[in-house]
């Protein structure tokens, strides 16, 4: 009896070994590089005056209804966070010594977690590296919300036919040759639109020109594998509410794991074969031993 058990274990171990080597023999996936044509935003919080013109312009451009709820009772339009009707918002940062504003919207990551997890690529990278949404491919599983480290995708909880709502960098306006509504309307040019490479150069240029005005790094240059929305600030980015995420893209680990295990579907097939062999052998042994009995 112990023979069949040993065989079983041997078979499984072989399958496991194949699965393991299948994973480790391959080099890890290279980190994704930004598309040279990638577009994005550069937001300079030292320039922002908190006028919320971008919030209003975003509503107009995307046909979103005002949110008359605020921290202090009703106001005409005062959402407290990104939500199913708000794709960008101005928040207040306050370090005690200083205060200012920060704009929040989709970061359009170079290697976005939401795109990596989306089952049917309803969220996908489109021209210019924009993270775009296709409601016809979305089944509403909300894994994107779980995955996004910036809590950006929002869900229409109150709707029977809900969609995911997030900034798509006004891609319909871009197609018409216009710039995004928020950058078009910004009275201080605190948020500007352009190619990511140009914006990055501009950001470093601004830091070099006024080293006293800025912390010497650009948020989004490396964070989470790089984002296409870049931030400049006079205080730490943590004070602006931007999470410390390290330089590795969020989906890097899981994608490597997934690729390692399911590369060419070899490991599952081998494991399946081994299981079948063991089970057929077991059945044969059982039948033999049953026949041997009175």
């Amino acid at each position: 009896m112990s023979i069949s058990r040993r065989t079983a274990l041997k078979g499984l171990l072989t399958a496991g070994a194949v699965a393991a080597t299948g994973g480790t023999a391959r080099a890890a996936l290279p980190p994704k590089r930004p598309d040279p044509e990638a577009v994005g935003l550069l937001y300079d919080s030292t320039q922002c005056i908190g006028c919320r013109a971008c919030v209003t312009a975003c509503r107009d451009a995307n046909g979103l209804a005002p949110q008359p709820t605020s921290l202090r009772g009703a106001a005409y339009d005062a959402p407290t966070d990104l939500n199913a009707h708000t794709k960008t918002i101005i928040k207040l940062w306050n370090t005690g010594d200083a205060h200012g504003y920060v704009k929040t919207q989709c970061m359009h990551c170079v290697d976005p977690a939401c795109v990596s997890v989306c089952m049917f690529s309803a969220l996908h990278k489109t021209a210019g590296g924009i993270v775009a949404y296709d409601k016809d491919a979305c089944i509403g599983c909300r894994y994107c919300q779980v995955a996004c480290p910036f809590d950006v995708p929002k869900f229409e909880w109150a709707s029977a036919t809900p969609k995911i709502v997030k900034c798509e960098l006004c891609r319909d306006r871009l197609a018409e040759g216009k710039e995004p509504a928020c950058t078009a309307v910004c009275p201080r040019k605190a948020v500007i639109f352009g190619k990511r490479s140009d914006l990055l150069r501009e950001a470093h240029h601004r830091i070099a020109a006024s080293p006293d005005r800025y912390v010497p790094t650009v948020y989004g240059e490396h964070e989470a594998g790089g984002t296409q929305v870049l931030y400049l600030s006079s205080v730490s980015f943590a004070a602006l509410g931007l999470p410390a995420l390290g330089d590795q893209a969020i989906p890097y680990f899981t994608e490597n794991l997934q690729h390692a295990i399911y590369q060419g579907f070899i490991a599952p097939v081998v494991l399946y074969g081994a299981l079948a062999v063991v089970m057929f052998r077991n059945r044969k042994l059982t039948e033999e031993s049953q026949e041997g009995q009175p």
Partner: protein, 408 residues
């Protein structure tokens, strides 16, 4: 081992289906149905407490993630029975597979309910935009496939019944399927072990995307392995639980010897699991977090206690033989595995201080309703189809769940 012989001595329990207890379950199902209708017309926000920070609530954490783990009886027993060739557990296979088939089907239904745009799912097989990086896609395909496999695995029970049916249609189906099943059942059995291994590891891997959101006590590259091992433990626990309750409920023989040795297996699985958990925390230098006075540490220790206690209770051979301790340990193990999954999906998941989640009453009602469907379907099926082995005990013993039995 032919399909028809899979569990030769299994017999329908018989008796009326619509008992008082069954009707009570149907009442819960009815209430749940109303909530589901409300959800379909008014959206998820109308019935659930889910929000943008906690987009997955108990429908995912319990109905799907814990539910499929609790439905691992079929997987765990099949592993023991067919791969490790422990034939003596054979009589446990059918009830375990039935529980699994019901559990997985309801998990699938819960997913449909939870999906915001469920009507788009029909496109999935036809569209080519499958994202092969998506772990959730793998989980979805795997769970769907496994549900089908489970129903195929349990189909001999139905065929046995239909062979004797008066309906020519059912008899025809049964006669046509028998040779097919005889030829292929083992292949499906093998699939029935491969698929849960794949998707339970992937259910754990789901939360590895929460790099910045999942608490470090739970965020570990070993999550997939932990989920597989813990679902096996839960699978055995459910088998013990279900065998004990069925024996009592239907006045059937208590598979005492088998459950005792199964409990011995559980000690091994639990020790492995707790060992892995601690070694992982120590090697990642995160063990200090378990001693920080916060809710994360509290839930960590609750979870650890729920895993360790049954291992200790079942370790001495004398205790292990006690059906009361077997039952209690099985319960604790089910709780432990469920708590572990709640910790990974809800308690340890922190999207930011502005968000909080506690399941709403309607949400809980839906979960209870799905459990009620499962229990009711189980009761109805074992009464009409050959699932449980052995003849009823002539003289019913006093004791456990007498009330329940009376109700059934």
């Amino acid at each position: 081992m032919r399909a028809a012989e899979l569990n030769g001595d299994a017999r329908p329990v018989g008796g009326p289906i619509f008992t008082a207890g069954f009707n009570a379950l149907l009442a819960i199902v009815g209430a749940c149905g109303l909530v589901i209708v409300w959800r379909l017309f008014r959206g998820l926000g109308a019935v659930s407490a889910m929000n943008d920070g906690y987009p997955w609530g108990i429908w995912i954490a319990y109905d799907v993630v814990s539910g499929t783990a609790l439905a691992c009886g079929g997987y765990a027993v099949a592993l023991l029975c067919y791969v490790l060739n422990k034939g003596q557990y054979h009589s446990l296979v059918r009830p375990a597979v039935l529980t699994s088939a019901l559990g997985y089907s309801l998990a699938g239904f819960a997913v449909l309910l939870d999906l915001g745009r469920y009507w788009n799912i029909w496109k999935a097989p036809f569209l080519l935009n499958w994202n092969r990086n998506s772990i959730l896609l793998e989980v979805a395909l795997c769970i769907s496939a496994y549900t089908v496999v489970l129903w195929i695995e349990i189909s001999p029970a139905f065929i046995e019944r239909w062979r004797d049916s008066t309906s020519p249609l059912l008899r025809g189906i049964a006669e046509r399927l028998t040779p097919f099943l005889n030829r292929t059942l083992l292949w499906f059995m093998a699939l029935g072990i491969l698929l849960p291994t794949m998707h339970h590891s992937s259910l754990g891997a789901l939360m590895l995307i929460g790099v910045s959101k999942l608490h470090q006590l739970w965020f570990t590259p070993l999550l997939p392995l932990m989920f597989v091992v813990s679902c096996i433990a839960m699978g055995y626990a459910v088998v013990v639980f279900e065998a004990t309750v069925s024996a009592r409920l239907f006045k059937r023989p208590h598979e005492h010897k088998m459950l005792t040795s199964l409990s011995g297996v559980m000690v091994g699985v639990l020790t492995t699991l707790v060992g892995m958990r601690l070694v992982d925390l120590i090697s990642r230098q995160r063990i200090g977090l378990a001693f920080t006075p916060d809710r994360y540490a509290l839930f960590f220790w609750l979870e650890m206690a729920a895993f360790i206690t049954p291992a200790i209770l079942l370790a001495p051979k004398d205790w292990r033989r006690d059906p009361g301790i077997q039952f209690l340990s099985a319960l604790m193990m089910m709780v432990a595995g469920t708590l572990y999954r709640f910790d990974v999906f809800l308690v340890g998941f922190n999207p930011g201080p502005q968000f909080s989640y506690f399941p709403s009453a309607f949400e809980t009602l839906v979960t209870l309703g799905l459990i009620a469907v499962e229990v009711a379907a189980y009761l109805a099926i074992v009464k009409r189809f050959p699932i449980l082995s052995g003849a009823p005990v002539a003289a019913g013993p006093p004791g456990l769940v007498s009330g329940l039995r009376a109700a059934s």
